[in-house]
């Protein structure tokens, strides 16, 4: 059961997008987010959609995985759409009865705002779907390392992320074990109302926390005994190297952003 859990939403296939340097992917995602906000016209949104479609094709991540990423946000997206639809002022009235007044401007704004949200989520999902959490932590560490000068703990943050990822399966296994042990003693985790179910979690969470703290102590000692002394003077096994593909990806995204900007300036719709 625990062997096939996927951590985060990483979709492990081999593709040109998966092979890109995590640092580049992080920067390009930020670039994409900027371009989402730069898109001002209908043609801009068509370009954004085309880009997402192209990248998801290239990455061999099924389109439904992207849609799955949107699911938790559907309420926010729908809410954004209707709030903008009903409360934006405009000239060209389409529908008007009682207190409801829908204008052409309101409809377009509602559409664009919700599309913007959808593209933001889809773009960042593509990053997490194609980059393993460990690679992401590595990339973040390197990108944030200039901030070490102002005492930002970039290395410690990345190390904490890696250790957390390493211990998720271990702690899941442990939760399972404690749960079964408590159930064997008559604990009931499934029936009753919300409050009694929350209370039933106490005998599960207390031992879990105690053991997590003990593990943390043990691990700290094991790390120290293997000469761990923080990020200073540390080398890494997987050194990240930029390749031609990274350069091409940068150019493609830069071109794409330029295109989005131009579409807002020169295309009439």
């Amino acid at each position: 059961m625990l062997n096939n859990i996927t951590i985060g939403q990483y979709y492990p296939v081999d593709s040109p997008v998966h092979r890109l340097d995590p640092r580049i992917k992080l920067i390009l995602t930020i670039g994409f987010i900027v371009s989402v906000f730069l898109a001002q016209s209908f043609s801009g949104y068509v370009l954004l959609f085309a880009f997402i479609f192209f990248v998801s094709r290239l990455s061999r991540v099924p389109f439904r995985m992207l849609l799955k990423g949107l699911k938790p946000l559907r309420i926010i997206i729908i809410l954004t759409f209707f709030l903008n639809l009903f409360f934006t002022q405009g000239e060209n009235v389409w529908v008007e009865f009682w207190i409801i007044r829908i204008t052409r401007e309101a409809f377009l704004q509602a559409l664009f705002y919700s599309l913007r949200l959808i593209f933001l989520v889809a773009g960042t999902s593509l990053l997490t779907l194609t980059t393993s959490p460990v690679a992401l932590a590595d990339g973040l560490e390197i990108l944030l390392s200039p901030l070490k000068k102002i005492h930002f703990p970039a290395h410690e943050l990345a190390m904490m992320m890696t250790i957390a990822l390493r211990f998720i399966p271990t702690l899941l296994e442990e939760t399972d074990k404690i749960m079964k042990a408590q159930m064997a003693r008559g604990a009931d985790f499934e029936s009753g109302n919300l409050i009694s179910r929350a209370r039933a979690m106490v005998p599960l969470l207390v031992p879990l926390f105690v053991s997590a703290f003990r593990r943390a102590g043990d691990l700290a000692m094991a790390m120290e005994s293997r000469c761990y002394h923080g990020g200073e003077g540390r080398t890494r096994l997987r050194s990240l190297k930029l390749t031609r593909a990274d350069l091409i990806a940068c150019l493609v995204v830069a071109g794409f952003i330029a295109l989005v900007v131009c579409s807002g300036l020169f295309l009439p719709f």
């Binding site: 062997n3 390493r166 043990d218 000469c227 096994l237 997987r238």
Partner: protein, 285 residues
């Protein structure tokens, strides 16, 4: 620096912060290069504390511990000592840091600042020394307890240590995992000449060592070869420690009047002795 003693424990006492009674008092021992030393004791005897003093995780309250010529009191030498005296702990899960086996083996090397080109061959040879190279790209939670301990050993081995300290490394494993880990360590001891300090409460494991130290209530009570130590059947029992089953059986038979020599440890030893006792003529020929 190569000297006659690899680890020199000079009249060491240790008291935990906030505790009045010392966990260890006046420990004195020398460990030679290439030796396989078992430290035996029941829970709370101070054997784990002793292990942690040997690679500078703890600093003695009194006395000195000198590892490969380096005194653990000198703070500047801590990393030199820990590189040379690697430690394996009891819980296989709580000592693996990375999400992939080969990256975990790399952890120590990364801490030492070894360039990555140099790491790759060292990781490969460490993993093949513990016969785990097939699992280089596996996730730790897919491995058995014994395999995880072998990965931990590989992580130490990659740092090219002269001493491996195993602090009850087999206590949480099933019998086959125990055998797997013990066999790996004995092989490293014999083929690479790595000094091994094997802390355990399993008598059968201690019986395989060159020398056994029995620790009770913070001091060394008995020391010698396994045959010598387990010969003191009554003294061992008094310390609430068992002796290997065969030693105990030999002792019973001796009490019943059978002429069996001291120092019987294994089934083969005892079988030979019994055969000698029952058919004196046959074994003489």
């Amino acid at each position: 620096m190569q000297t006659d003693t690899q680890i020199d424990v000079k009249d060491v006492s240790f008291t935990y912060d906030g505790s009045s009674a010392p966990a260890l008092s006046h420990i004195q021992t020398e460990i030679r290069p290439g030796e396989f030393v078992a430290i035996l004791g029941h829970n709370g005897s101070g054997k784990s504390t002793l292990a942690k003093l040997l690679n500078a995780l703890y600093i003695p309250t009194e006395g000195n511990v000198v590892v490969c010529g380096y005194d653990t009191r000198d703070e500047k030498l801590v990393w030199e000592i820990r590189r040379r005296a690697g430690m394996i702990f009891q819980n296989p899960d709580n000592q693996i840091v990375a999400t992939v086996v080969k990256e975990d083996v790399a952890f120590g090397l990364e801490n030492l600042g070894i360039p990555s080109e140099e790491m790759i061959p060292r990781i490969e040879s460490a993993l093949s020394a513990v016969r785990m190279n097939r699992f280089a790209d596996s996730a730790p939670h897919q491995l058995s307890g014994g395999q995880k301990q072998r990965v931990a050993i590989a992580g130490i081995l990659a740092m090219e240590p002269s001493v491996i300290i195993a602090d009850e490394a087999t206590a949480m494993l099933d019998p086959s995992g125990r055998k797997e880990v013990l066999d790996t360590i004995r092989m490293l001891n014999r083929s690479k000449g790595i000094t091994v300090i094997w802390i355990t409460h399993f008598m059968e494991e201690a019986a395989l060592a060159d020398r056994v130290l029995v620790v009770t209530d913070g001091s060394v009570r008995l020391t010698g070869t396994p045959a010598e130590v387990f010969g003191h059947v009554d003294a061992m029992r008094e310390m609430h420690l068992d002796v290997p089953h065969m030693t105990a059986l030999a002792d019973e038979l001796r009490r019943e009047g059978m002429p069996i020599r001291d120092g019987v440890l294994t089934v083969e030893d005892l079988a030979q002795e019994v055969e000698k006792a029952l058919c004196p003529l046959k074994s003489a020929t």
